[in-house]
Symmetry: C2
Amino acid sequence: MSVRISQQARAVLAVLAERRCHLTAEEVLASMESIGTATVYRALDHLTEIGLVRRLALGKKSAVYEYIRDSHLHFVCNRCGAVHDIQTDMTGMIREAAKCCGHEVEWAEVTAHGLCKDCRAVWDEIPAQESVQ
Amino acid sequence: MSVRISQQARAVLAVLAERRCHLTAEEVLASMESIGTATVYRALDHLTEIGLVRRLALGKKSAVYEYIRDSHLHFVCNRCGAVHDIQTDMTGMIREAAKCCGHEVEWAEVTAHGLCKDCRAVWDEIPAQESVQ
DNA sequence: AATGAACTGAGAACGATTATCATATAGTCA
DNA sequence: TGACTATATGATAATCGTTCTCAGTTCATT
């Protein structure tokens, strides 16, 4: 595993670093011009391997990638699908819990599912009713 | 969304409940006889919707499902791919953190990645060396 | 320039999941 | 029970994210 970063991989990294959010491979592809699909996937793989980028499984169809900066957890809204970052670091606690079982944590992914702030607001506006068919 | 459970869905649930582990749709399919692929996926979807089963994104190619019992986190080994349960409940903490941002957590998924107990043991036996090509 | 290693991208291939649809089953009411 | 309707089933096709293949290109080194 080489730590060198090719031109294209650097461009992919730039997209993730600038946007500072969670992008699918397709979204990265869409926000770049003249780059092949395979190249984007390869770049994301490589960046993940060398630890500059994290591949997240947020329960959606496709994987999402984010540039690694600080430790935070992800909140995925059940209704609108939006992903929000929540600045909290639980790595230490998770590491301790795993240590008790003999496992060594490299990194941890915390994903919360529920109703986001915006959707809660919308929800409150709508009068309660049985689902109409 | 109906809460009724069909015969086949009940059978799928039984598999998950008995095995008490994380199974892919394909694994469920393989451990049953005379059931169609679509039916397994539909059953898993339905069971997930009515809250008896949880669909987990552990970062593997396919989703895994588990029968919901207690709250625990998942440890996925980078080397052997095994999934271990770790009995710890962080839901309260995660819920609080999300609450601060206005989000309402329904459930949370904690996945730790690293080297599992068994693989650490193997690792320790092998003398350190540069990767030979 | 010459050599070989690594990178690229178009398109094929793959694999997990979902959609389709004709048939079968379950549920309901007369 | 029989008739009728809604729902479930499963074989198969279709979809879609991702990976593979391979010929051509770029890069690094000499």
